[in-house]
Amino acid sequence: MKALSRLGRVNWASTFAIGVVVLLVSVGLFGQWIAPYDPNAASLSARLRPPVWAAGGSWTYPLGTDPVGRDILSRLIVGTQITLAVSMAALIVGAVVGTALGLIAGYFGGVVDKVIMRLADVAIGFPIILFAVLLAVVSGPRSENIVISVALILWSRFARVVRAEVLSLRERDYVALARVSGASSGQIIRWHLLPNVLNTVVVLASLQIGFTILTEASLSFLGAGIPPPAPAWGAMVAEGRNYVVQAWWVPTMPGLAILIAVLAFNLLGDWLRDTFDPKLRQV
């Protein structure tokens, strides 16, 4: 915490965010070994067990079981990995493509810039999520569809911000010097521009994680995302939907997991932005 407080103002929100994110990432990495049960092992004798603090609950199934007797805690733990992996993949594809196009648009300008920014304008207001629905109908629900659809929205956010940064960076003396000393455009972009926008890219990426997780969950809920029986959080809410009256914990637990994860990543993103890149506030 001491090292962190040197970085920025640490308050209860950032402490909560960092704690939850560290927990989620470790659960994501080591989930298979932590989960007390096989997440897909059904047990008819243990159907709809309530969580430990409710009447009739026990430590055998701390968060209760679902309608086919699968342990909800184990499913949430393994689901963390799926959610984080898919969200990260979408984020990385969107960030890499968007940063590359933003660098190119900002550095070269002219027609290239016009075409790229026009495409970004189109992408930003485009409900590309509808495209995910179409992909799901054509090829069935697959995690790749989520990565493609979310990346199709995200790239434009990165491209815009990176381009704006490059526009001011390319006028700096050290870029002019590099050009005079014979560096090619590729070298200037790689060695002089990219390192200077990376900071912004990382902060911007952290601000998009919550959005990515929510979108993934919504698509999985609609049946256009990660296919069952994989314990994706959104799909777990969908499966538990009809049991809310007799067993409230079945849809409530995965929903709470989404809420806490998105909340933590959003707060972390806000904190990183305020600390490292306050000008991103306008984005």
Partner: protein, 305 residues
Amino acid sequence: MIGLIADRLLQAALALLLLSMAVFLLTRATGSPLDLLLGQNATQEDYARLEKELGLDKPLAVQYGIYLVRIVQGDLGRSARSGDSVSALILDRAPASAYLALVATLIAFVGGVPLGVLAAVTRGRIWDTAITAATVVCQAAPSFWLGILLIDLFAVRLNILPAGEFEDWRSIVLPALTLGLFGLGGVVRLVRTSMLEVLDSEFVKLARAKGVAERDVVMRHALRNAMLSVVTYIGIYFSILVTLNAVVEVVFNWPGIGRMMFDAIVFRDFPLAQGMVLFAASVTIVVNLFVDIAYSFLDPRIRRQ
């Protein structure tokens, strides 16, 4: 000004063209479009008829041309499951979706703007903290989950509101609230941030120094400027709304387009999904066009260019 509007119109046309091209290529890239368009119960005659209708023997560019002309004429094909005209199905369901979206938008903006102003003027005090905390949670809660909890609480346990379906005015309350809360969070945060920015600017300091009453400073100077960023948010809000609408309609069994989209996924009804995607995306693009034009009218810095 006219140049700007022409530019935006061109951009919207380009977006629509790209959209139709993407959907068209998707039907072609995944094997025979006939399988996708006809579904499983099609006869040999259906295949022969559609092949001729779509001109599948002609070059791809010509096929795309035929496809575009049909869309412009309002012919989106027939549902593979029911055989009904897709455009008729959409027109039948669109009012329910529009009604839900409209009430949710009202909740988001009518509730969001005053809360955002309140948070900004009480910066750092208890009201601000409470409002900010509530909106952060609103924005992190998945709508489909919130909807389920609201049904459980108000429709089942308390039994004071219906759980969706389309009966009387009370049916709209829960779905619109579920949908509106996410937008509300966004509006509050946006209004708060832009208000704080404006309240900190030179012209507001001048107004205060002149002795303008604090109430007038907030309402006349700060809020009017903050509203500009709210207008730009509508475009992004609307594309989020289209997704969330689908989710909320499924949860509340609302007879709109989103509910139909879900059925199209479940039954792999490609013509229906394709038609709805084209329709919903076109509406979004047109809304964004109007937002851009409205913005350029509202912002004198752009208007006078």
